[in-house]
């Protein structure tokens, strides 16, 4: 059972996620893409853990999930707050902090 396909899949998912972050404008979808990137990383972690026969990769994936959970909670709360005041969930609308 080769590792390479998993890593390639992970890289493809990561790239798709990053392109999504760059192209989508709905803040929630952007967030989903970030989650996609995190999950891609997790896949690589788990695959490496399997490759090397120890559980450190899985622990790392576990921590990534925890951090992702915390991040989602805060991120969605921020999106909610912005939506409440601006009636918009577009990341382009919140662009006042500029030159």
């Amino acid at each position: 059972m080769s590792l390479t396909p998993y890593i390639v899949l992970s890289a493809i998912l990561f790239t798709i996620g990053s392109i999504g972050v760059l192209t989508r404008r709905n803040a929630i979808v952007v967030f989903m893409c970030v989650e996609l990137m995190l999950n891609a990383c997790n896949l690589a972690f788990v695959a490496f853990a399997h490759q090397h026969g120890n559980l450190d990769g899985q622990v790392a994936a576990f921590f990534v999930m925890v951090v992702a959970a915390a991040e989602v909670v805060i991120g969605l709360a921020i999106i909610m707050t912005i939506f409440r005041t601006r009636r918009s969930a577009s990341v382009d609308d919140a662009s006042l902090l500029k030159f």
Partner: protein, 292 residues
Amino acid sequence: MTAFWVLAPIMVLAALGILFVRKAVHAALLLAVVMISLAILYAVLEAPFLFAVQIIVYTGAILMLFLFVLMLVGVDASDSLVETIRGQRALAWLTGLVFAVVLLVGLTQITFGTAVGLDGEGGANEGGNVQALANLLFSRYVFAFEVTSALLITAAVGAMVLAHRERLSPKAGQAAIAAQRVRDFTEKGTHLGPLPPPGVYARHNAVDTPALLPDGSPAPASVSRVLAARGSVRAADTLADDIDDITAQLGQDVATKPETSGKAGATASSEEDQAATNGDHGVRGQGKGDHK
């Protein structure tokens, strides 16, 4: 590897779908596909604990949180796919693709040996994957684990702080609301009673179909203003024409049986009179309508 080769195309397609679907809900569902597939891959990769966590926490909790917020924000506020930042889309694709190519080129340079594997005799999962993970978490990674608790508490408090809205005036009690209603009625003539429910006396009793007034015109106050704002209210006047058909279908029964619904009809008609005369106070009325 069979599972992988089956799932990998699905995942890539689903992920690409996230990039192109217009509605956020669809994106969430596609993400769920990716995540569940990932969970299965985890299982294949001998990580049963993460398999469970991926399904329960990620797909079950986090993704549901996404959907929850989507509902709050407006489920079908679809994204326009027209780019506002000049060159952003092209550049994003270009950079992303180059990035992917470089990553893949880099990865193909590496050869991995045979996977050691976790299960099996003397593997890391011997004695159970969960137990082994717990051993690691509470020994080598105990500090990181404790720090995570601080992170989670901070996140929880942060979410509460962000979601909290300070009440600037005392909460109006039932008596105060009633008094206000009566005052509005005397001063501005606002409709005193509850708003008509949608679909009443209409062709459909769905929430997006306005009630019909006795003269056959739709009552705007009977539909939630969120639906009105989205423009997804069914055209009532086209439905109004159906009344004749309905009467025809029902025959004489309705006309000759006013007693059965007489009371309700009487109250409703008096309400509709009010609504008709004060149709321009719709906003206020819709606010009340939400209360129901």
